[in-house]
């Protein structure tokens, strides 16, 4: 079954069209990387898929449940908020700059949403949170505050925070772009281990080597469209001159 299906997504800000027309489906267990130059609409695609931004047109479906579709007047219609609330629970998003809650301890960052949003008993949520933190190598940081952690540690906490809600799909919006190379490695390691556990993931990234090793499929975006997609081998040996140029620039 496709966990996510996007059909003919269109998005513009004022008169500026950011996404022309994108269709994309992601199957369970699939790891999809989205690459492309700045301003190509990668992040906007993610923000529309996670409903941080409203689409101007198109269809958005999670686990066969429609979140948004084209109404009869040509405008995009979203599902009633009751349904959206449930659909929200199907996915998580890891931000480029973490967006941890600075006034919460690491543990509270991870366990608060399960308790306050999903109504999971505190003791149970704490147990899960501690297990997650241990898995991400942060067992000793449970009582620390985000400002006391390195960027890599903060990003791992934010991954733990997303995982704590048990999402079916995890989106990453340039998860290592705010980190230096050394810290990048530790975050990529975590994402790699999630891929090994067959977590369905959609990752916007500039890390070519990483995308190549990890992805089942790579999507190359430019000017608000998917210009090319395929397995890493297909894409890295493509005849498409523009894709070759872009990949070449980033891998050297």
């Amino acid at each position: 079954m496709n966990l996510l299906e996007i059909k003919n997504l269109k998005k513009s800000y004022g008169g500026l069209t950011v996404i022309e027309d994108i269709s994309l489906s992601v199957a369970e267990g699939e790891v999809v990387s989205i690459i492309g130059p700045s301003g190509s609409g990668k992040s906007t695609l993610l923000r529309c898929a996670t409903m941080l931004e409203k689409m101007n047109g198109g269809e958005l479906t999670y686990l066969s449940e429609k979140a948004a579709w084209n109404g009869s007047d040509g405008k995009c219609v979203y599902a009633p908020s009751k349904d959206l609330k449930r659909i929200h629970g199907y996915y998580g998003l890891v931000f480029q700059n973490f967006n941890l809650f600075p006034h919460f301890s690491v543990l509270k960052n991870v366990m608060d949403a399960p308790v306050s949003v999903q109504g999971i008993p505190k003791a149970e949520a704490e147990k899960t949170a501690r297990q997650l933190l241990a898995r991400l190598g942060l067992a000793d940081k449970a009582d620390a505050y985000p400002c006391q952690l390195s960027g890599g540690q903060q990003q791992r906490v934010s991954i733990a925070r997303a995982l704590a809600l048990n999402p079916k799909i995890l989106f990453f919006d340039e998860p290592t772009s705010a980190l230096d190379p050394e810290l990048t490695v530790e975050v990529l390691k975590v994402i790699r281990s999630l891929a090994e556990q067959k977590m369905t993931m959609i990752i916007v990234t500039h890390e070519m080597q990483f995308a190549k090793e990890l992805s089942d499929r790579i999507i190359f975006m430019e000017e608000g469209r998917i210009q090319a997609q395929g397995t890493p081998d297909e894409l890295f040996s493509t005849e498409n001159a523009r894709v070759r140029e872009f990949i070449g620039k980033l891998t050297n």
């Binding site: 629970g89 967006n99 999903q118 505050y145």
Partner: protein, 211 residues
């Protein structure tokens, strides 16, 4: 003399605490109005804040106290004096606090709202669990300023003859031709504000555990 001044002190402290307790929440509500998506609510809040900040508190106290009689012919009782003072102070200070809240709320990074939305927090939860605690930390210094001003402003209650500290001091000074009550009043306000500054500093330190 001391007994009379002591009673005044109690009244001043009452004005101070009642004003704070009532104007801090009212200010928050008003700041929501000021930031409302509804244009009418936003405009009304803006005009209200503008008038409250743009006219003297002393004049506002007179309006609240004498207004019911001049406007509606309601007979003013002496017990209404104190009530009028509290109403006047609360209405005035809420306007200042509203703008402080607004500054704090608008300074919050959009990423905090987005993270909360993705995690499924409701709007109310997002505000009270995520946003407001961080706003409190940010607005503590300007709030301290207002609170210190409030301590001294309580003396304005003398214009409608509420026998707070300053009113008593003035009466005693005139009756006994002595400066002593003024000196004592001055010391009272100063020590009160030292306490305020001390408490607020403690509070800031307490919130120092995160950035």
């Amino acid at each position: 003399m001391l007994q009379q001044l002591g009673a005044g002190m109690v009244v001043s402290a009452e004005i101070f605490f009642l004003t704070l307790i009532l104007s801090l929440p009212l200010g928050l509500v008003l700041s929501f109005g000021r930031m409302s998506k509804n244009r009418l609510i936003r405009a009304v809040s803006k005009v209200y804040i503008s008038v409250m900040r743009g006219t003297p508190l002393m004049l506002q106290l007179m309006v609240v106290y004498f207004g019911p009689f001049y406007l509606f012919g309601i007979k003013i009782t002496s017990s209404y004096r104190f009530v009028a003072v509290i109403i006047g102070f609360v209405l005035n200070y809420a306007a200042y606090f509203a703008e402080i809240y607004r500054g704090g709320i608008e300074s919050m990074a959009i990423g905090q709202y987005e993270a909360a939305k993705i995690l499924g927090y409701s709007k109310v939860q997002t505000f009270f669990k995520i946003i407001f605690p961080q706003v409190v930390k940010r607005i503590l210094p300007p709030v301290t300023n207002e609170v210190i001003t409030l301590v001294k402003d309580t003396s304005l209650a003398f214009v409608i003859a509420v026998s707070e500290m300053f009113t008593s001091a003035k009466a005693i000074a005139a009756a006994q031709t002595t400066m002593v009550p003024f000196v004592i009043a001055g010391i009272f306000y100063y020590v009160f504000n030292l306490l305020v500054a001390f408490v607020m500093e403690k509070l800031e330190k307490k919130l120092d555990y995160y950035r």
